[in-house]
Amino acid sequence: MLSEPADAPNFVRELYSGGVEVTEPLALDADAVRELTVELRALEDARAAAVVSGRTYLVR
């Protein structure tokens, strides 16, 4: 069974992550989330349109 980091023998060390823990994580604000949702929905609509129109366009 793997031992918890705190229980690990002294020849096992956790690798330094390269940074420090952030006290206030970065997040998107409500406006950004709203705009992004609208934009991504428009992209989905465009993709759906391609599915329909692509049935009849022939390339040769």
Binding site: L15, Y16, S17, G18, G19, V20, E21, V22, P25, L26, A27, L28, D29, A32, V33, E35, L36, E39, L40, A42, L43, D45, A46, R47, A49, A50, V51, S53, G54, R55, T56, Y57, L58, V59, R60
Partner: protein
């Protein structure tokens, strides 16, 4: 007309053609074009491009078993009344003359020392004489072609390598432009990423006949839906865009360049034809006339064709974009960039900086291993590179870079910051893996909201773009 009865009835295994001699190129043209005024343009293009690369020697193998043509022959040409030979001629091009050792059995010529430029397969099909081609790109274009790979062939026991983009001309019976375009994308994926190699009938069979109209052999062409399904059938599920349905600030150039920067060939359906974009170049950068010239493989014209202005292209209007992609690249480029843009603004704002109007965004899909491997080479400080390298990441990531246009136009390193996204992430959960600004680098733990940060003691200088740093 080419005399097919004499195609392989020779004991001669190969010939060396001195292309420096007057009439030598015309000799090759007439051998495969039939010495008629209707020599296919594509044959003239291929021979002309080889000559333009400085080819001084051609070596013709007369009994070459080409896997792609053998496959076509097996499915179609062996079933016709007219007899078609089952072997091809493979024509190799070299930049140096072959003068020494042509007749010497003790010190024979070493073709590997003659500057290999690539090869062209000549089919014994008068209506479609050019088959598979792998030629070095024209010198003026090679730095702008983002979809290149290396192929190694063997000639008389010598290994010869060439860097370029594989090309295939349609035979107009078994395969049409759509099949040829998909073959090009598939073969590039095979050579660059090691995906399975697909022969022409695999491409043909992958296109569902049931949603087409009429008989599929000889092929009448493919609907976009069939082309899309065929790409999926080959293990390269595509992103498909109707170019008349672009949203917001999206443009054809931005859409296409995102995938070209990532090294993915882009198939365009326009004017009833399909062709493959393999690179681009920015012309008149920083001026009001700035525009993008695309470079394409057009199976009806030839490899490495420049499209000066896509809006006025012979195949206008461009209607569809189909990009065959690795299966684990779930997130398409436009979504990745939309999410990455907003996270970049948030990260910059958190450090008291703003995205200036002269900044723009550039998105590239890369494997996370490649991304991590090239961080320091690109100019990312070692401590910040360490944080990014030790962060768990998905196999494929999108890197949305914040680009300073002024620096880009001066050809200096121009990436101010970047956001890294998991290419398999959920559509409606806008997480990222990491972000980098001039002031700091953050890594977001995949399954929680906690983050790790490494701050710069001084603002980080602009770095090289991830796509150029990996040779694309």
């Amino acid at each position: 007309m080419v005399d097919l009865t004499r195609w392989s009835l020779t004991d001669r295994t190969s010939s060396v053609v001195d292309l420096r001699q007057p009439g030598a190129l015309e000799y090759l043209r007439d051998q495969y074009g039939g010495n008629s005024p209707d020599v296919p343009d594509i044959l003239q293009q291929v021979l002309g491009q080889a000559y333009g690369l400085g080819a001084q020697t051609a070596v013709v193998e007369y009994r070459y078993l080409d896997a792609d043509y053998r496959d076509e022959h097996s499915r179609f040409y062996s079933t016709t009344f007219r007899r078609y030979p089952s072997v091809t001629h493979r024509v190799h091009f070299f930049s140096e003359p072959a003068e020494q050792g042509l007749d010497d059995p003790d010190t024979p010529v070493e073709f590997a020392t003659l500057g290999y430029l690539g090869y062209a397969i000549m089919r014994p099909v008068p209506g479609a004489p050019v088959g598979r081609v792998m030629l070095k790109a024209p010198y003026a274009l090679e730095d702008h072609i983002t979809c290149q790979s290396i192929e190694t062939v063997h000639l008389f026991g010598e290994a010869l390598s060439v860097r370029g983009t594989p090309f295939m001309a349609q035979d107009a019976q078994l395969a049409r432009c759509a099949h040829a375009a998909l073959w090009v994308a598939s073969r590039h994926h095979h050579l660059f990423w090691g995906t399975p190699k697909h022969l022409p009938t695999a491409v043909v069979d992958a296109a569902p006949a049931g949603i087409g109209m009429g008989r599929q052999l000889p092929s009448p062409g493919l609907a976009i839906t069939q082309l899309s399904a065929a790409a999926s059938g080959l293990g390269l599920p595509p992103v498909v865009h109707d170019l008349e349905w672009l949203t917001g600030s999206e443009t054809v150039a931005r859409l296409v360049c995102r995938y070209l920067n990532s090294g993915f060939p882009v198939i365009i359906g326009g004017g009833g034809h399909a062709f493959v974009l393999i690179g681009y170049r920015r012309v008149d950068a920083g001026t009001p006339d700035e525009r993008i010239e695309f470079i394409r493989h057009d199976d009806e014209v030839g490899p490495y064709q420049v499209v000066a202005d896509w809006k006025f292209d012979a195949y206008r209007p461009w209607k569809y974009l189909i990009v065959p992609l690795p299966p684990k690249l779930y997130v398409p480029g436009d979504r990745a960039e939309a999410i990455g843009r907003r996270w970049a603004r948030s990260a910059f704002a958190a450090d008291g900086e703003f995205i200036h109007t002269r900044y723009t965004f550039r998105s590239t899909a890369v494997t996370s291993n490649t991304y991590k491997e090239h961080l320091v080479v690109r100019g990312v400080p070692v401590d910040q590179a360490t944080l990014l390298r030790r962060a768990p990441m998905s196999r494929w990531v999108w890197v949305v870079e914040v680009v300073d246009r002024d620096l880009r136009d001066k050809s200096a390193p121009y990436v101010i910051g970047e956001v890294v996204l998991d290419a398999t992430d959920h559509d409606r959960d806008f997480k990222i893996l990491a972000s980098r600004t001039p002031q700091s680098t953050r890594v977001h733990r995949p399954e929680s909201t906690s983050q790790i940060i490494a701050r710069s003691s001084s603002p980080t200088a602009p770095v090289a773009t991830v796509s150029r740093s990996i040779g694309r």
